[in-house]
Symmetry: C2
Subunit: 312 residues, 2 copies
């Protein structure tokens, strides 16, 4: 039996403007690292968390990476002990699927460490249980792209119906993470409970068009479709300089720009790396103006999901 | 100059379950025929309407096929007289885009008769003006598929953004038209003005998935996506035996089944002609039970839009 595994699980951009709760895609960078070890002593222990400023709990039953491991061990009758280290290498409360990355990383790691040979579809269920702890809802628009890689559509939730979407090769993502924190759980509470019909029609027109743009490689259509009539009007207000960041991204040649997940991170898509970098500088300059610190990530689309860094 | 043209313009299925106001596709059969003639005497005259049981007006300013001709003549400074015959060869108030077929037929016919060389994008605007007369709204989910053929997505309306969608070759449509009439204008008034968020999310998940299914030729996904959380719960009640018709279609092997436009016609998609026929018989038997007369149409997907029957 293998003794130790270290995996990387990617950050993800959910919603993608129009696809609230149903769409997301994975990034090459940043992401979390999870280490799992089998031990003689039974039970599941989180031995170490780094990069969290002491904010995450070591109690596996309350930890987004712990819960999937507990559930997998219970369901598959796993008797050996499991030790876990969580290395947060991305900001949390940032709208980049930090909790999903930890949940998926743990799930993926256990699958390989114990050679369980579970499919992504089976793994998804456990990762969603972890996401539930963090966000209060079992939405899969971060965990699914984190696990499958690429662009993902969740057609429906009863049962979960995952559709993998191809996307054009030269698609690059710029993410700006302003150094403020927004809780997904709190953020969801601010959204309205119903949507005016005309806004809803615009939203599903864009959702459908974004899929068409991705599958046919129509960059302009992808750009036009990244519009949000539902969450952006509410969430945009909580992101300092949001309108200016978006305008700067589009002026610098981004195809489209919107809020990543529940924010405060903002993403933009571009059709070449040079533009993606230019867009990043333009976005950052808007936060520099108000002296708010921020990080910029420039990334291709991660088409593989999590990966094994080391397996001993 | 050409003197006379006769064209066919196809029936269309709009909404396609999930895509209220944004999706539609064209049928090979049924459809309307429009005849246009240039005359010495100036002005626009409707000389004949057949197949309408006397229900349509000969006044071109109030007729869905007359209005586009008036607007085109005005915009392009057309001085010659135009005589029009409208041959309704499909039921109206049926949810099969009858008004759109007449409006598109007239628009398409004038373009060819006078060799105006207008693009579909330009023609669409005039056809929409005709649709406005019939339905009270300029929605394009019948006129656009009627004009372009195939499956059409209208991403948005400001400005109209048409996306043509490829679809798998072996897709067949069964339509049942129960002999009752529903006014689109009245029917729209019954719909709620807002949508609960969870229903809206399900709707845009399905819309996006339907596009994915069409573009990748995934018949099962097409079937699963033909779901409606918005209009069907209201409109289904006005269609006799609707639940039974739908159940019978699905049991007979249809991929999906839902209301065509605002009804009362019901459409089903199948992946082969034999199944489409079987589905038709099963649907009809549900209306036979209550002794309500109905017509069945079995058709491929019309991928070309209107066509010229005769040009003299």
């Amino acid at each position: 039996m293998r003794k130790e595994i270290r995996v990387f699980a990617p950050a993800t951009v959910s919603n993608v403007g129009c696809g609230f709760d149903v769409m997301g895609f994975a990034l090459d960078t940043p992401g979390d690292e999870i280490v799992l070890r089998t031990t003689q002593r039974s039970g599941i222990t989180i031995t170490k968390i780094t990069g969290d400023d002491g904010k995450l709990t070591l109690d596996p039953e309350k930890n987004t990476a712990g819960v999937p491991i507990i559930e997998m061990c219970r369901e598959f009758g796993i008797k050996c002990g499991i030790e876990m280290e969580i290395h947060k290498k991305m900001p949390f409360g940032s709208g980049l699927g930090s909790s999903a990355a930890s949940a998926v990383g743990a799930t993926f790691a256990l699958n390989h460490l114990l050679e369980l040979n579970l499919s992504n579809k089976e793994l998804l269920r456990f990762a969603q249980a972890g996401e539930m702890i963090a966000s209060g809802s079992e939405h899969a628009d971060n965990v699914a792209p984190c696990l499958y890689g690429g662009f993902i559509l969740i057609r429906g939730y009863k049962p979960v119906d995952i559709v993998t979407l191809s996307s054009p090769e030269n698609l690059f993502c710029t993410v700006i993470h302003p150094h403020i924190e927004i809780s997904t759980k709190e953020s969801r509470k601010l959204l309205p409970e119903s949507i005016p019909v005309n806004d809803a029609i615009a939203q599903w027109g864009n959702c459908a068009a974004l899929v068409a743009g991705l599958l046919t490689g129509d960059y302009e259509l992808i750009g036009r479709s990244i519009e949000d009539h539902f969450a952006e009007p509410v969430r945009g207000k909580f992101i300092p300089q949001y309108a200016q960041i978006k305008e700067a991204a589009l002026k610098s040649g981004a195809l489209g720009c919107n809020i990543s997940g529940s924010g405060p991170s903002v993403f933009a898509l571009s059709s070449d790396l040079e533009t993606a970098k230019k867009v990043g500088a333009a976005m950052k300059s808007q936060l520099d103006k108000i002296e708010l610190a921020s990080d910029i990530y420039i990334s291709g689309i991660n088409r593989k999901g999590p990966k094994i860094i080391e397996l001993i």
